[in-house]
C-alpha cells in the first residue's frame, strides 16, 4: 500500500483519531450520563432515581407502552420491508432503479417532514377526512390524530425504509443458483422460499429488526406530534425530565433503563448473527445440526395440500404473481406518497392547514425569508458541511486501516466504530448536553458539529469500508511500477478512483446532519436554531403552511442530494454498496 496508506495508513493515523473522538464525544458522555442514575457527583452512590423509576406506576406504564409500540413498529416494518426488498431484488434495470429510489427518498426524508405530512393527512380538516366527506357526502371530522394508531402509522412510515435497505443487501448476497438447485431437487417455489431463501435472509431480517427497534425505542418526534398524552414514550419523558423538571438523575435512570433494553437486544443479536450484517457484510448462518423436528414432514404435506389448492385453478395461479407485486407497490406508495401532500399545502392561500388547500400563493415561502429561518438554514448548512468533512477525515484512515491491517481486531474495531448506531440517539444527546454544559460549549457551533459527527460516523465508516475494499491496490502498484511518483499517483490514480465514494459518503454525512433534531434539541441552547430545530419549535406551536413550505424546501433539497449521491455511487463505484 502506497498512497492510500499515506492517506490513512497504519503507521500514521489508523483508526486512532476516530476511536479517540468516539471515546471523548460518545463513550464519555453516554457513560457519564448513565452513571448519574446511580452516582451523585456530590454525595456518591445513590439508588434513589432508579428506585423512583422502578416504583412509580406511571413510569412503568410508559416503559411498557414504549416497548409495545417499538415491538409493533419493528414487526410491521420488517413484514412490510421484506416484500419491498424482495421486489427490488427481483427487478432489474430501470424498474429496479426507480423502485430503489422510491425507497431511498423516504429513507432520507426528514422524520420531521414525514411526521408533518401525517399531520396534514390525518388532521381534523385533513386529507383523509376530506376524502371520507367526499365519498360519503357528509362532513367528516373524525379525530384521527393524537391516538395510538396515528403514532404507529407515523413510526412505521418513518422506519420501514430502514428495514428495506438493511434487508436488501443480504438478499442480494444470496447465490441465485441456490434457488435453481432447490428447484432441481423438487422443491416448489414456496418451499424454496421457506427452506432456502428465508433462512439465508434471516441475518438481514434480524438486523433490520434490530435497527428499527433501537430507533423506535428512542423515538420522540412521532409520539409528540401525532400522539396524545396517552402515547408518551420514554424518550418524551426523558426530554421532559431534562428540559422541564431539570432532574438529571431521573433522566439518567430512565435512559439507563432504555439502554439496558437496547443493549440486551443488541447482545442477543450479535450472539446469533454476528456483527457483519449490520454493515452489509453477511455471514452464513449456522446450520441446524440437530435432528429435524418431529412433525416437519406432516407440516410439509399439509403445505402441499394448500399450495396445490392455490396453484390448482389457472386464474388463481396467474393472478397470484401480479397481485403480490401490486400489493408490494402499494407498500412503496405508502412510503412515498404521504410526504407529497405537503407540497400543495405549502402553496395554500389560507393560513390554516386544511384539505383541499386554497391555491395558489407563494406567501408561505416568502414567510420563510426572515432572519430567524435564514440564520437557521445557514447554521444547518455550515454545521452539515463541517460534519461531512470531519467525518471523512476521521473515517477514511479508519476504513483503510480496517480493510488492510485490522486482522484479528476486525470485529472489536467494527463494534466500536458502529456503536453510535445502536445507542438510542436521545441518550447520546443528553450525554453530550451534560458534558457540554460542564465545558460551557452548549449552544456552540462546535458542539453541534461534534454531536452530528458522532451520529454520522457509523454510516460514513461503513460506506468508506466498502469504497476502500473496492479499491484494488494492485492498480496503485501498477502505477508505481510504471514510474509514477507519489504526487502523480495520488492525483491521477488514487483520488479519481476514490473521489466518487468519498463524495457520496460526504453527502450522506451532510444529509444526516441537516436532518438531525435530537442532538440539536439539546445542544443548540440560546444561540439560535438549526433548521430541524426551528421546524420542531414551530410545529409545537401550531402546524402552519409555513412549516409545509419549509418541509417542501428541505424535501426537494434532500431528494436532489440523495439522487446525486446514488448516481455517483452507481456510476463510479465498482461494487455499489447499498
Amino acid at each position: 500500500m502506497i498512497e492510500l496508506a499515506r492517506l490513512g495508513g497504519r503507521a500514521r493515523l489508523g483508526p486512532w483519531p476516530l476511536l479517540a473522538f468516539l471515546a471523548v464525544a460518545f463513550v464519555v458522555p453516554v457513560a457519564t450520563v448513565l452513571s448519574l442514575a446511580v452516582w451523585d457527583p456530590a454525595r456518591g452512590w445513590n439508588a434513589a432515581p432508579v428506585l423512583r423509576i422502578a416504583t412509580t406506576p406511571v413510569y412503568a406504564t410508559v416503559a411498557a407502552r414504549t416497548l409495545e409500540i417499538a415491538a409493533w413498529t419493528t414487526a410491521l416494518c420488517v413484514l412490510g420491508g421484506f416484500p419491498i426488498a424482495a421486489l427490488i431484488h427481483r427487478l432489474a434495470g430501470r424498474p429496479r432503479l426507480v423502485v430503489f429510489l422510491l425507497v431511498l427518498l423516504p429513507f432520507w426524508t426528514s422524520f420531521l417532514v414525514k411526521t408533518f405530512a401525517w399531520m396534514v393527512l390525518l388532521g381534523r380538516n385533513g386529507t383523509v377526512n376530506a376524502l371520507i366527506a367526499a365519498l360519503t357526502g357528509e362532513p367528516a371530522s373524525a379525530s384521527l390524530l393524537f391516538n395510538a394508531g396515528a403514532v404507529l402509522v407515523g413510526m412505521v412510515h418513518g422506519l420501514m425504509p430502514f428495514a428495506v435497505l438493511t434487508i436488501l443487501p443480504v438478499l442480494e448476497s444470496i447465490d441465485p443458483r441456490l434457488a435453481h438447485a432447490s428447484a432441481s431437487l423438487g422443491a416448489r417455489p414456496s418451499e424454496t422460499f421457506l427452506r432456502v431463501t428465508l433462512p439465508l435472509a434471516m441475518p438481514g431480517i434480524a438486523a433490520a429488526g434490530l435497527i428499527v427497534f433501537v430507533t423506535a425505542v428512542g423515538f420522540f418526534i412521532v409520539p409528540a406530534l401525532l400522539g396524545g398524552p396517552r402515547q408518551t414514550m420514554v424518550a418524551n419523558l426523558i426530554i421532559d425530565m431534562v428540559q422541564e423538571m431539570l432532574n438529571w438523575p431521573l433522566a439518567a435512570a430512565a435512559s439507563a433503563m432504555m439502554f439496558a433494553v437496547v443493549a440486551a437486544v443488541f447482545v442477543g443479536y450479535v450472539a446469533m448473527f454476528g456483527i457483519g450484517t449490520l454493515v452489509g457484510r453477511g455471514r452464513a448462518p449456522s446450520a441446524r445440526r440437530g435432528r429435524p423436528r418431529a412433525g416437519r414432514r406432516a407440516f410439509w404435506i399439509a403445505w402441499d395440500r394448500v399450495a396445490d389448492l392455490l396453484s390448482g385453478p389457472t386464474p388463481v395461479r396467474r393472478l397470484a404473481g401480479p397481485a403480490g407485486t401490486a400489493a408490494t407497490l402499494a407498500l412503496v406508495a405508502f412510503l412515498v406518497l404521504p410526504t407529497l401532500f405537503l407540497v400543495p399545502v405549502s402553496f395554500s392561500r389560507s393560513g390554516i392547514v386544511d384539505w383541499p388547500p386554497e391555491l395558489f400563493s407563494t406567501k408561505w415561502y416568502a414567510a420563510l425569508d426572515t432572519p430567524l429561518w435564514r440564520s437557521a438554514a445557514w447554521r444547518s448548512a455550515t454545521v452539515a458541511t463541517a460534519t461531512g468533512l470531519l467525518s471523512l477525515a476521521l473515517a477514511l484512515p479508519a476504513a483503510t486501516w480496517f480493510v488492510r491491517h485490522a486482522g484479528r481486531l476486525r470485529t472489536p474495531a467494527l463494534v466500536a466504530m458502529i456503536a453510535p448506531m445502536v445507542v438510542p440517539r436521545i441518550i447520546i444527546a443528553i450525554g453530550l448536553f451534560y458534558l457540554f454544559a460542564k465545558l460551557g460549549i452548549v449552544g456552540s457551533w462546535l458542539g453541534l458539529v461534534i454531536g452530528h459527527t458522532v451520529i454520522a460516523l457509523p454510516f460514513v465508516v461503513t460506506m468508506l469500508i466498502a469504497v476502500v475494499q473496492a479499491f484494488d491496490e494492485r492498480i496503485e502498484q501498477a502505477a508505481q511500477v510504471c514510474g509514477a511518483g507519489p504526487a502523480m499517483r495520488l492525483r491521477r490514480v488514487v483520488l479519481p478512483l476514490l473521489a466518487p465514494g468519498l463524495l457520496s459518503a460526504f453527502i450522506f454525512a451532510f444529509v444526516t446532519s441537516l436532518d438531525e433534531l435530537t442532538i440539536a434539541l439539546f445542544v443548540t441552547g440560546g444561540l439560535g436554531s438549526t433548521l430541524p430545530k426551528q421546524m420542531w419549535d414551530e410545529a409545537l406551536l401550531r402546524v402552519s403552511p409555513t412549516l409545509a413550505a419549509a418541509s417542501t424546501v428541505v424535501f426537494v433539497f434532500m431528494s436532489v442530494a440523495v439522487v446525486l449521491a446514488q448516481r455517483l455511487r452507481e456510476r463510479h463505484a465498482p461494487q455499489p454498496t447499498r
Binding site: 438447485a181 432441481s184 431437487l185 424454496t192 432456502v196 448462518p285 429435524p292 414432514r297 402441499d304
Partner: protein, 362 residues
C-alpha cells in the same frame, strides 16, 4: 424409446441465437457429454432440459413425458451445479436430504437414503459438517450425493469439475465414472474439457455455434470427425487439402504425393477433400512403415520446432512450405535428443491411418 428425447429445440436471447434447432436422443444408462467451447450452446441446452429456461420451440421428452411448461421442481431430475450451489445453512446430511424431504419421504427412509448416498461418495464421516467446513473436492462430492440421493432417472452435470484444481479433477473424474457404472443412471454432462469428455463418455455430443456438430462415441469422434471443427477441437491434427484422383487415390499437391486412404473410393473422382493426419500416426522412421503402392507418403522437411513433452516429442516440420506436426514416442533418451531448427528429417504419413473430411469454403 429413448430415456431423453430432445426434439427440434430452439432458443434465442434477444438477437443472439443461443441454440439453433437441435435434436438429440439419450438412451437409458448412457453417459453423454455436451462438449464445446464457451458460447456453443451446451449450458443453454442443459438449462432447457432442467427447466431453468423455456425453449422458443421444440419438445423435450423424458421417459415419454413431455416436459414442456413443467417447472424445474416437477421434472424429477438430478442436477450438479458448477461450483456446487450447496445450501450454506444446511449440514452435509441435510443438503443431501433436501430432495428426499421435498418428496415427503418418511424420516426413516430419508435417513437410510442419505446414508447410502453419502456412502457412495465416501463422505459418511462428514455428515454433520457445514459446506464451508469442507474442501472443494468434498463439497463437490456432497453435490453429487445430493443429486443422486433420490434416484433420479437423469442426472445433469454442469461443468462439475470446473472449479477444482488438476489433481482433484483427476480423482473426481474417476469418482463420477464409478458412480455412473455402479448406479446405472443416465448422465448428461457439460464440459469444455476434452479429456473429461473422452474419459467419461459413452457418446460425446460436440457443440459449436449454437448447434450440434457431431454425436459419436469418443473413439469415432477422435478418429473419424466429420468436420474441420471436430478434427481440430478434439486432439491435434494436420489438415491438408487434397483431391480424389480418378484411381481412387488421394492426391496431395503440397506433398507431391498420392495416398491410398480409407473412404476415398466412395467419393467422386475430382472431389476436393481435406486429409486429416493425427500427429501421433506419423512414423518417425520411414523404414518401419508398411509398404505397398501408395501406402505411405515419405516426406522430408526442415525442423521448425522441437519440444520435449516427456512421453513424447512434438516436432513441427516445414514440408515444402506446409507445416506438419509429428508426435514421436520417446522410448529412450536418444529419441528425445534435441533437433536443432533447420535440421532436415524424413517421416512417413501412413494412408491407412488418415481420414478424409469434406473440403469446405475457408
Amino acid at each position: 424409446m429413448p430415456k431423453l428425447r430432445i426434439d427440434a429445440v430452439r432458443k434465442r436471447f434477444g438477437d443472439v441465437a443461443a441454440l439453433l434447432d437441435t435434436s438429440l436422443d439419450v438412451e437409458a444408462g448412457e453417459f453423454v457429454t455436451l462438449l464445446g467451447p464457451s458460447g456453443s450452446g451446451k449450458t443453454t441446452l442443459l438449462s432447457l432440459i432442467a427447466g431453468l429456461i423455456e425453449p422458443d420451440a421444440g419438445r423435450i421428452v423424458l421417459d415419454g413425458r413431455d416436459l414442456s411448461g413443467l417447472p424445474p421442481h416437477r421434472r424429477g431430475l438430478g442436477m450438479v451445479f458448477q461450483s456446487y450451489a450447496l445450501f450454506p445453512h444446511l449440514s452435509v446430511a441435510e443438503n443431501v436430504a433436501f430432495g428426499l424431504r421435498a418428496r415427503r419421504l418418511p424420516d426413516a427412509e430419508v435417513d437410510a437414503k442419505v446414508r447410502r448416498a453419502l456412502g457412495t461418495v465416501r463422505l459418511e464421516a462428514l455428515a454433520h459438517r457445514l459446506p464451508r467446513e469442507l474442501s472443494g473436492g468434498q463439497q463437490q462430492r456432497v453435490a453429487l450425493a445430493r443429486a443422486i440421493a433420490y434416484d433420479p432417472g437423469l442426472v445433469l452435470m454442469d461443468e462439475p469439475l470446473g472449479a477444482l484444481d488438476r489433481n482433484l479433477r483427476e480423482e473426481l473424474k474417476g469418482e463420477i465414472g464409478r458412480l455412473h457404472r455402479e448406479l446405472g443412471t443416465t448422465v448428461l454432462y457439460v464440459t469444455h474439457d476434452q479429456e473429461e469428455a473422452l474419459v467419461l463418455s459413452d457418446r460425446i455430443c460436440l457443440m459449436n455455434r449454437a448447434r450440434i456438430e457431431q454425436v459419436d462415441p469418443p473413439q469415432r469422434l477422435y478418429f473419424a470427425p466429420r468436420s474441420r471443427f471436430a478434427a481440430e477441437f478434439l486432439g491435434e491434427s494436420n489438415l491438408v487439402p487434397g483431391r480424389v484422383g480418378p484411381d481412387g487415390r488421394v492426391e496431395v499437391d503440397a506433398w507431391r504425393s498420392r495416398l491410398r486412404v480409407p473412404g476415398a473410393r466412395e467419393r467422386a473422382a475430382g472431389e476436393a477433400v481435406l486429409l486429416m493426419v493425427r500427429p501421433e500416426t506419423i512414423e518417425w522412421s520411414p523404414g518401419d512403415a508398411a509398404d505397398g503402392p501408395d501406402a505411405v507418403a515419405r516426406l522430408t522437411g526442415r525442423v521448425l520446432e522441437h519440444t520435449f513433452l516427456g512421453a513424447t516429442v512434438r516436432c513441427v516440420l516445414d514440408v515444402a512450405g506446409t507445416r506438419l506436426t509429428v508426435l514421436r514416442r520417446t522410448a529412450s533418451i536418444g529419441d528425445a535428443r534435441r533437433l536443432d531448427a533447420g535440421t532436415t528429417a524424413t517421416v512417413a504419413v501412413v494412408g491407412e491411418r488418415c481420414h478424409l473430411l469434406p473440403a469446405e469454403a475457408a
